[in-house]
Amino acid sequence: MPSRKHIAQRILRGSSEDPRRRRTGLSRLGRYLVGRRRRVAVLALIGICSAAAPVSALLVVQDAIDHGMRAHDRGRLGRDVGVYLAINALAWVLQTTLVRGLARVGQDVVLGLREDLFDHLTTLSLRYFSQQKAGWIIARLTSDVDALSDVLSQGLTTLVVNTLTLMAAIVGLFVLDWRLGLVALVILPPTLVISRWFQVRSHAAFLRVRETISSMTAQIAESVSGMAVIQAFNRERAFLGEFDASNDANLRTNTHAQWLNSLFFPGIEFLGIVAMASVLWVGGHMIGSGSLTIGTLVSSVFLLNLVFQPLQELSDLYGQVQSAGAAMEKISIVLDTEPEIRDEPGARRAGRIEGDLRIDRVTFSYGRDPVLHEVDIHVPPGNCLALVGESGGGKSTTAKLVGRFYDPDSGGIRVDGHDLRELELRSYRRQLGVVLQDPFLFAGTIADNIRFAHPEATDAQVEDVARAVGVDRIARRFDAALLHTVREGGAGLSAGERQLISIARALLADPRILILDEATSNIDRPTEILIEQALDRLLRGRTSIIIAHRLATVRRADEILVMEHGRITQRGSFDDLLGSAGPFRDLAAQLQGSDEVLQSAPVSGSRASSSASVVSSEPE
């Protein structure tokens, strides 16, 4: 039974055909069995016993026929039936244990793998996450691990029990009468060939069905979420046409898969009858010649059932095992990805950071072309540095290097005189605060989100920072206030509200170094004012780098750097920069120009200090 063995090998040791694949195959699962070897050994023993049970029960039936019925020994008949029942009762108990035990082992393996995979993912660098689509990564953690889980929970029992039963039944046939065993062995190879053919074809058909289902589901999902536009632009007919095409494609692949399925099981059933007829034919003649008993023949016929039934069930499993193997390979790709940023050997724990930040002649590239050229920056403790300039100038990259999301190609970044690469990553980052343009909120309450970077914070502390940055005001519109549950990604909150929460989060974390990357962009005006006030509170007493487009945000910086094409082209204080011709003034004019309407409007009284006036008030 090469294919059975093959499946068993794949499950237990990984494919042995290709030595290079050994590590990426299912063999990887072996290490989750460490410490469970005794349990596995016991389960294997139970599996063998429970597979042997129905076979030995049939040997008892043979005895009952030949030595009970034919020998007219009613006592022996009664004893045999008693033994028959005892064996089956034992099988019942064994199988119950086996189903539970195998599920336990399988699920422990799945859990271990899932946790390891997730833990590994969290150590991978941003470069990895920017190159790989989120959907792809998530599929490894979910559908791929689930595919393994299916094989290991339901599949493993089916595989173990049926493989062992099949083998036990063949052994049983030879024990009953070796000649009948040989007859069965003649029938088996063509059956296996047909099974194999079916398995391969049916797996391919199943994959096609899955493809058409997923593209059809995607089509429906897209229509449903885009229904407003479909209806607004009268596109109903076009979308119905598209749907019909994918619905029909799904119908066709399904029909083909069902055609195969409908062929296979009746086919095995037919071959089973052929095997039965062959055994009866040979057996009948042997009885005629006196070399076989009727009991042996009848039991052999029933033993054949135990050969053909497992074949059907194992065929069902083939697709599952194939999918699991493919899933494991993809999981291995992730597991084998080395984290780009990690603690160097001998990295030290960062003590409390004072916040003296030096960027020394840093050059950096994502690919071939450098995006930073020998950038030199020094921020003294507690100072605020602003980075301005058009997008693509290298501002965010500089910020990401400070967070050690990437390491520079040359040069170094030093905090309090220590190169970042000498510090333990996590001990450094725990003293780092980051507020991004599109802050990410996790599913949970607003309070949970504020507490994210400092889980031990008390309710009173959370309330304090919420009040300090004005989150309490936005929370007030919800019944549960700070305990209002935010859905994943922060749906239901405006961008500005999410921003305020992420500022509260950073404030509670009490970082020594703070990075604000476009934290005030794309926010409606009233909220922006709240945020500007919150920032004042947040920046106090910390070294900070802010990247911003709004002049209002940049004003508060001790020093402003203009970055263009990866180089610093101008530096100085806000007033100095505005006072002299240069890139900053051009930028400022551009940024504020959209507020010209304010200038033309007869603005009343003291409210006239518009941002536009900052630009216009400068001496020419």
């Binding site: 099981f265 037919f270 009858i273």
Partner: protein, 593 residues
């Protein structure tokens, strides 16, 4: 005049109308159904005939009771031939039945999808996308398997059970009674197993969905996690969700362990009865070896039909539950009513827009619009301002009739929108929704989605005005770049610009822009504002916005607060007045001070 709200969440259908609906679907495929049923009948007959022939082979040839051996081969040839016919019949039954199911599934899905295209916005407000999608996909599987397997298999099982019982009783009444006494328990066990395991497996599915959510969250928010060094926390959170899945699967395994081995054990009780009592009768000469074989074989053949009946009964419950929901949607959801005697919009020229004492409520909370009166002249560009929640989006959504006002009227070109054919109204009104919705098709097709036959130079002009042309050139395939998960993910600002260009391409006489540049960066916005005015020339435009720079595009601004218009006039005049409009935008000045 208060209007009734459209019914968009009908209760599930009762058992009888659901059964009628299912029966109707079944009848639509009557040819395949008939083939399946005939084959099921023949299959049952053949499945009885084969062991009976073997019994005679044993009794007359292999172990003849009278000691006279007849030739064995005619029996065995007959067995193989019968098996061959059975193979064909079985294949035909399975294939025909499975196709019935697949077709019913596809048909139901099509009915639902067609209905989705007609359902009003309020339906989509009420039901989550995932639910709507799964009702047309996963929820249909129980229906497919019930019709495509369960119904025919169930009838076949009944035929086999009755047939086997009849044969056994004809052969030996007493032995049949002993043998069959334990068998009904197989059915009961299978059925109660299915009932027990279903809720658990549904729960496991839910737990797996939670894991997906946790994974999704961590991957999308990875920068936050790493920036604050909180890997441990998310790992622990993920692990606890993953452990819940394991526990769920183990609970399922425990139920399986409690029931499934029992399903194997029960039939052995009957076999034991046959060996014991049948054995005594063989010894006593009242039962032949062939008859003993027949009992044994038929009991084995009886197990699956009994088990199947249990599964089918539980499947029937799930299928009717799922069908009752689907049919409830198909029959109980109202669509936006089309006029019985439609009026045409005036031909040529601009179309004015007029809101007359417009009230609106979503039916779930308080009134969102409480008497809006607004007159927009043909070709006028008007900005609708107001704090979040003032009702701006609700007001704009009345124009393409996403909703109807609860009181008052909305007029386009002097005609009540409810008197215009929906298709005509919607080709006259182009809308850019607050969240830009693009489709996973090439950029080019996204731009022309509203008017596939638009001349290319018009599309390019719109793309330039909306600022799409700038970034389109940098996309890998330019305008032919595929957008979406399988293609290029555009940023929020880029998506908004595409949606804006799409609305310009539509060539509609009324353009509704709901905060169309909220995610566009300041520099690009400036550029857009300059280009938009000429691109919109001649059209009536309503534009809702949070930004003063966008208000600049408009001839006139109105301020909506608490569902009524509180201010109206030139933006500069409104600013000077120093009232609500000023409080919305004027503080922009104060921020820098």
């Amino acid at each position: 005049m208060s209007r009734r709200f459209l019914s968009v969440d009908p209760p599930d259908l009762g058992l009888w109308p659901t059964a009628k609906g299912l029966a109707h679907q079944w009848r639509e495929q009557w040819r395949l159904v008939a083939v399946g049923l005939v084959c099921a009948f023949v299959y049952s007959g053949l499945s009885l005939a084969i062991p009976i022939v073997i019994r005679h082979a044993i009794d007359s040839s292999i172990a003849p009771t009278n000691g006279h051996h007849k030739a064995l081969w005619p029996y065995l040839v007959a067995v193989v031939l019968l098996a061959l016919v059975r193979f064909g019949v079985n294949f035909t039954r399975r294939y025909a039945t499975a196709r019935t199911g697949i077709r019913v599934e596809a048909r139901m899905r099509e009915l639902l999808y067609q209905a989705y295209l007609r359902y009003p916005r309020s339906f989509y407000d009420r039901h989550a996308t995932g639910q709507v999608v799964s009702r047309a996909t996963n929820d249909l599987y129980p229906i497919r398997y019930f019709i495509g397997w369960g119904m025919t298999q169930g009838l076949q099982s009944l035929m086999l059970i009755v047939g086997i019982a009849v044969v056994l009783f004809l052969v030996n009444v007493k032995l049949a009674a002993f043998a069959l006494v334990a068998m009904p328990a197989v059915f009961v066990l299978a059925f109660s197993f299915a009932r027990k395991v279903m809720p658990i497996s549904r729960e496991v599915q839910q737990l797996k969905a939670d894991v997906t959510e946790a994974a999704d969250e961590a991957v999308v928010g990875i920068e936050m996690v790493q920036a604050f060094g909180r890997e441990d926390d998310v790992q622990a959170r993920f692990a606890s969700k993953a452990e819940l899945v394991r526990d769920g699967v183990l609970r399922q395994a425990r139920v399986e362990a409690a029931f499934l081995p029992g399903l194997l054990f029960l039939p052995t009780l009957s076999i034991a009865a046959v060996v014991l009592f049948g054995g005594h009768e063989v010894i006593g000469g009242t039962l032949t070896y062939g008859e003993f074989f027949l009992f044994y074989q038929l009991l084995l053949q009886l197990v699956w039909p009994l088990e199947a009946l249990g599964w089918i009964l539980s499947l029937a419950q799930r299928a009717t539950a799922s069908a009752s929901r689907s049919f409830a949607w198909l029959q109980g959801i109202e669509t936006i009513p089309e006029p019985t005697h439609p009026t045409q919009l005036p031909h040529g020229g601009g179309l004015g827009v007029r809101f007359e004492n417009t009230h609106f409520s979503y039916g779930t909370g308080s009134e969102v619009l409480s008497g809006v009166d607004l007159d927009v002249a043909p070709g006028e560009v008007i900005a609708v301002c107001g704090p979040t929640g003032a009702g701006k989006t609700s007001l704009l959504n009345l124009l393409p009739r996403f909703y109807d006002p609860t009181e008052g009227r909305v007029l386009v070109g002097g005609v009540d929108v409810r008197d215009v054919k929906l298709e005509e109204l919607r080709s006259a009104v182009a809308i850019v929704t607050q969240k830009p919705i693009l489709f996973s098709i090439p950029l080019r097709d996204n731009l022309t989605a509203a008017r596939p036959d638009a001349p290319w130079d018009e599309v390019v002009a719109a793309a330039e005005a909306a600022g799409v042309a700038q970034f389109a050139a940098q996309l890998p395939d330019g305008f032919d770049t595929l957008i979406g998960e399988r293609g290029v993910n555009l940023s929020g600002g880029q998506r908004q610009r595409v949606a804006l260009a799409r609305a310009l391409v539509a060539g509609a006489r009324v353009v509704v822009l709901d905060d169309p540049m909220s995610a566009v960066d300041t520099q690009t916005e400036r550029h857009l504002v300059e280009n938009l005015r000429p691109a919109l020339a001649g059209r009536t435009v309503l534009i809702a916005t949070q930004r003063l720079s966008t208000v600049e595009v408009a001839d006139r601004a109105v301020v909506l607060d608490d569902g009524v218009i509180v201010e109206s006039g030139r933006p500069a005049d409104l600013l000077a007045r120093g009232a609500v409009f000023w409080s919305l935008f004027g503080e922009e000045i104060g921020a820098v001070a």
